[in-house]
């Protein structure tokens, strides 16, 4: 394993790094003093309601507005034609290939709608009720066009999702280890393999389902336009609004106040944001749009939705020889901000923790008449992890080998780091043996295997399966150079400022934009640790482009590993500056000063000056050294040199009721290695929430459409977000190998639970009933699907 990197250097009696500090964010949230966007009321504020297409693909032939415009309280009713000159086309920031095809995407459709729920008109009225009432009066005539809902069917181009495009294919993106020089030819490798296992796996379409529906308030009064939005990305949103609408960026201020969850679902520039801004500008009055949950489920961007055609080769001893991945990725009807790049983020992760020599990845990005897909917790990496971990289990079955033994034969040993992977990444550190050994012990792997055998032998109604998932992910998005090489429009740096106030309190301004992650607490810990000031004296400011002028926001488990490092770097600059002043004040040489516990001491003496004394001296500026500006502010931008690679081993004991198909998580153990941890309490919370979403993909959630293109699971009645009784108690632990890509050794934790848990659950379900002849079940593994799989296996006599 790698050695510990330089760690926090000013640890006092009670070091902040590694301490479960209670959250600063909580006070306002537990008392109802929250500031979610929909809470906002501005003088003269108008309300918007959207008129949405009921059809998944249609030509708009006429829109009759007379009645709606005459309705009480209505200020305006606008169509796509009305907004054509100003609304532009919603941005896609990731053209994955130079020849990527994408239809224009006006916020309000003008001629054609390509998914059910697309906006065709907007009502602006004095109240939300008046707007909704009037929206019902807008009469739109459509000529229905053929719809293509199924991804595999869309790939054939038999029906086109857009009449303006000649094919449903947006782009084809390929990685080949032989061509890239990172490995050998997959064809040769598979041809030379003793066994080749081939499977087609399905990632169902998921809905992020953050608890706070999206909401936007735009205030056009004054000299600039201020947008409050329930977004993860105030900074990116500001740039994109400027580019899309041609408004000078300096005239735009974007504020993300309290944001009620995102999970990638609020990493978007939405039609509703554009429309609310344009409406406010036209009316000269603040405008608000808050979506209903039904609208949110229908049109907020979705996630996953891929078909994964997998081939894995191995020797008869179980050494993997190569992996071929051929993906169809459902873009939905339009390309959102990073829709096209989501499957590519997975491309580097299919090899996971294994060290086989040959790898080929091909992805076809395909349009359908469904809402757009884009980032959802994990974004590309859960898909990759699911596929490889399912394939490892299939291979273990083929070779009649324990799935953990097969993994161990193929994973990178801890002595082999840093390791250049066949997908072209360099994994810096990791210790898969340690995490797995700990998980196996906590899980009682052998005991549960014995119980599984007992139930099998007894023909028990409730069978037991053990699901294994060993995973790694690339976090800390991202080194800007790498993003450039992948044609992503932006960089991956993060920015921070540290400002020392006259009283010695410290303001930390971060470009990260937390929406539940606890940055106000964790960043306070970082700065308290560095500057030696009390945790309580640090204030973290974020989520407002006027306060935090530069930033790239929060997603991709990047905040600590990138944003946190910018904070540390800014804090270090403050120390350097304070040192100059301290030396001057104490009439000592800088070289003779030590900085510990928030004070500079002249080495070998009792002479010292505290941080707050220096702060006040700077404020008064009566006695500054020559040429030193009287402030203790600094800023820093951090651009990582590499991704970070959290990993872990997750084990799930799954009970399957063979009579009903009902599946239950009996025991769930996860051991995650996310490097050095700042706040273990927050980390554990992230793991819990991640597990819940990953388990839910495996068992509960799916966006289901009928043949006409209507979302059938269009409310929380049918889109099953699990409740407290539906999820297990998680047993969590950590191992720790520090990352080398940042000075703290942190790796990121936001997505780990989601990425690892889905395959653990599905592998466990299959392990429970594989002896009954079931070899695959599509997600979510509903009781009905499990039961039908069991019946089919029974009718074909399919015991292997």
């Amino acid at each position: 394993m790698s050695t510990t990197t330089e760690s926090a250097h000013s640890s006092g009696p009670s070091p902040e790094i590694g301490k479960s500090r209670l959250r600063k964010e909580d006070a306002r949230l537990i008392t109802g003093r929250s500031r979610y966007t929909d809470n906002m009321v501005l003088p003269g504020m108008l309300h918007l309601a959207m008129v949405r297409s009921p059809y998944a693909h249609a030509r708009i032939t006429n829109i009759e507005l007379t009645e709606a415009k005459a309705a009480p309280g209505v200020f305006a009713v606008l169509t796509g034609t009305d907004l054509a000159a100003e609304q532009g086309s919603l941005p896609n920031a990731w053209p994955v290939t130079p020849d990527q095809k994408a239809p224009a995407h006006p916020a309000v459709a003008i001629e054609e709608v390509a998914f059910a729920g697309e906006i065709v008109a907007v009502v602006i009225a004095r109240s939300a009720a008046a707007a909704r009432d009037a929206a019902e009066l807008v009469d739109v005539d459509y000529d229905e066009l053929p719809v293509v809902m199924d991804l595999e069917e869309a790939f054939t181009d038999a029906v086109l999702a857009h009449t303006s495009l000649e094919s449903n294919k947006s782009a084809t993106w390929v990685f080949d280890s032989a061509e890239a020089g990172t490995g050998t030819s997959i064809e040769d490798a598979l041809a030379a393999s003793d066994v080749v296992v081939e499977r087609t796996l399905y990632q169902q379409r998921l809905i992020p389902a953050f608890m706070e529906p999206r909401s936007t308030v735009v205030d056009p009064t004054g000299e600039q336009i201020t947008m409050y939005s329930a977004t993860q990305i105030p900074h990116i949103l500001r740039v994109m609004l400027a580019l899309t609408l041609g408004i000078p960026e300096s005239k735009l201020r974007v504020i993300a106040p309290d944001v009620g969850g995102g999970f990638g679902g609020k990493l978007q520039v939405t039609p509703e944001e554009i429309i609310t801004l344009l409406a406010a500008r036209r009316m000269g009055k603040p405008c608000k749009f808050t979506e209903t949950r039904s609208e949110s489920l229908q049109v907020g961007h979705h996630g996953r939705a891929q078909v994964q055609r997998m081939k894995i080769g191995a020797t008869k001893e179980g050494i993997v020889t190569g992996l071929s991945v051929n993906l169809l990725a459902d873009m939905g009807a339009y390309l959102g901000l990073i829709t096209s790049g989501i499957p590519i983020l997975g491309a580097f992760m299919y090899n996971s923790i294994y060290k086989f020599p040959a790898y080929r990845f091909e992805c076809n990005n395909i349009f359908t008449n469904k809402p757009w897909t884009d980032a959802y917790r994990g974004a590309g990496r859960p898909e990759a992890t699911f596929a490889i971990e399912r394939m490892m289990d299939e291979l273990a079955t083929e070779l009649n080998m324990d799935p953990l033994v097969l993994r161990e034969k193929n994973w990178i040993k801890h002595t082999e780091f840093p390791f250049a992977t066949v997908a072209g990444l360099e994994y810096d550190t990791g210790n898969y043996e340690a995490a797995t050994a700990k998980a196996v012990a906590l899980f009682d792997y052998d005991g549960l295997r014995a119980e599984q055998k007992r139930r099998r032998d007894a023909g028990a109604t409730i069978q037991l399966g053990i699901g294994v998932s060993t995973f790694t992910e690339m976090c800390g998005l991202a080194p800007s150079r790498v993003l450039g090489a992948l044609n992503y429009a932006a960089g991956g740096w993060e920015h921070a400022q540290v400002r020392v106030l006259p009283t010695g309190n410290v303001e930390v301004v971060t470009g990260s934009s937390a929406h539940g992650q606890g940055h106000e607490t964790a960043w306070s810990q970082l700065v308290a640790d560095r500057l030696g000031v009390p945790f309580e004296n640090v204030e973290v400011l974020h989520g407002d482009t006027q306060v935090s002028q530069r930033g790239l926001d929060t997603y991709g488990s990047r905040s600590l590993t990138v944003g946190g490092m910018a904070v540390l770097a800014a804090a270090d600059k403050v120390i350097e500056k304070a040192k100059v002043i301290a030396a001057h004040l104490m009439e000592a040489s800088e070289e003779d000063l030590d900085f510990t516990n928030g004070a500079f001491t002249v080495r070998g003496t009792d002479t010292s000056t505290s941080f707050s004394e220096i702060a006040f001296a700077v404020f008064s500026a009566h006695n500054m050294p020559d040429g030193v500006e009287p402030n203790l502010d600094s800023e820093a931008t951090f651009d990582p040199v590499n991704f970070s690679y959290p990993h872990g081993t997750h084990l799930a004991a799954m009970e399957v009721d063979t009579e009903t198909g009902q599946v239950k998580v009996l025991k769930y153990v996860c051991v995650d290695d996310i490097g050095v941890v700042v706040n273990p309490m927050i980390v554990e919370g992230q793991v819990h929430g991640g597990l819940a979403q990953g388990i839910s993909q495996a068992l509960y959630e799916e966006a289901v459409y009928d043949d006409a293109g209507t979302l059938v699971s269009g409310s929380f009645v049918d889109y099953l977000v699990p409740g407290a009784p539906d999820l297990p108690h998680y047993i969590t632990a950590r191992t720790e190998t520090p990352a080398t890509s940042n000075q703290l050794g942190a790796k990121g934790v936001g997505e780990a639970g989601t990425i690892a848990s889905t395959p653990a659950i599905v592998n466990g379900v299959l392990d429970a009933i594989r002896h009954l002849g079931v070899t695959d079940i599509k997600m979510p593994c509903t009781p009905s699907r499990v039961w039908h799989a069991l019946q089919e296996a029974k009718s074909t006599g399919g015991v292997q």
């Binding site: 109604t461 009903t660 009902q662 289901v704 509903t782 009781p783 009905s784 039961w787």
Partner: protein, 292 residues
């Protein structure tokens, strides 16, 4: 999230309510009775229901509560599910109703939603109709022509349709006491807060180690709740024995016509009915290992 506008009336007597209904009928108004509102208000928010008049029964005294009639209980239509689930009289004499009421939706909904409201709403996946049917409840209805009573067998007439005619109000439900019977409501869902995929209400009377009589109500196996008549017949005289009970419950789906939806197709529901029925009966007779 914002219902269409409507007129609202909150009568304080049943007579006043009936007069409002009669008036609405005369003027052609689309009127809805508001009981607990836990099914009505959601569909109004989605604008799937747009009544022009809502008559709130919540201000009429005497429509909720439980009366002991000796051999039966009369339960006010406006009695909330939460009271159904916790009332000692119900627990003592008709525990099947407590068991079923405790599975309805979630605690908040059970605080507002009412027994009568759920019965008149008659959602095929609702949990209260099947037990009422199994118990041969009597539905006390008041209308322009005065009060009348309808037997359970004739009450549930179709998808969201009951014997309560326009202009009428269900005021109470009378259920015979089932003292000495075993009972259980077995509900099958994917997540806790979900309508029943299939559920079975079981009442079993055991005499001398033999099942003397069994009544089974099926939830969500057709557009209305159904009795599992073939299973009831097969259970009569059956030993209190897991295998015998299983054999009888294998008939549970006979005569049913379940829907296919996201939670399962009709074939799956027919199969589930047999398993859920068996588990309900085993629990009702107190046999351990209902998952046997």
């Amino acid at each position: 999230m914002i219902p269409s506008a409507f007129d609202y009336a909150a009568p304080t007597t049943v007579e006043e309510a009936l007069a409002l209904l009669a008036g609405a009928d005369a003027s052609g108004d689309d009127v809805k009775l508001l009981a607990g509102g836990q099914s009505l208000i959601p569909v109004m928010k989605l604008r799937l229901a747009d009544p022009s008049l809502v008559v709130d029964l919540g201000r009429i005294p005497g429509l909720s509560g439980i009366t002991d009639n000796g051999s039966s209980l009369t339960i006010g239509a406006m009695t909330p599910h939460h009271v159904m689930a916790t009332d000692p009289l119900i627990a003592a004499h008709v525990p099947l109703l407590s068991q079923a009421a405790a599975t309805v939706a979630d605690p908040q909904v059970r605080h507002r939603g009412t027994f009568g409201g759920a019965l008149v709403h008659a959602d095929p996946a609702g949990d209260m109709p099947a037990p009422a049917l199994a118990m041969d409840a009597v539905f006390n209805i008041t209308g322009p022509a005065g009060p009348r009573s309808v037997e359970a067998a004739g009450f549930f007439q179709g998808y969201f349709t009951t014997a309560v005619e326009e202009g009428e109000i269900l005021t109470s439900i009378t259920v015979p006491k089932f003292d000495g019977w075993g009972s259980h409501y077995e509900k099958f869902t994917r997540v806790a807060q979900q309508w029943s995929i299939v559920a079975v209400a079981a009442l079993v009377r055991v005499e001398g180690g033999v099942i003397a009589e069994a009544r089974l109500g099926l939830t969500n196996m057709a557009s209305t709740p159904l009795r599992a008549s073939a299973t009831e017949a097969a259970l009569a005289g059956c030993a209190v024995d897991a295998e015998a009970i299983a054999a009888a419950c294998a008939h549970a789906a006979e005569g049913t016509d379940p829907a296919s939806d996201l939670n399962g197709d009709a074939a799956y529901r027919r199969h589930l009915a047999t398993v859920v029925a068996r588990r309900a009966v085993l629990a009702a007779v107190g046999l351990q290992g209902t998952r046997g």
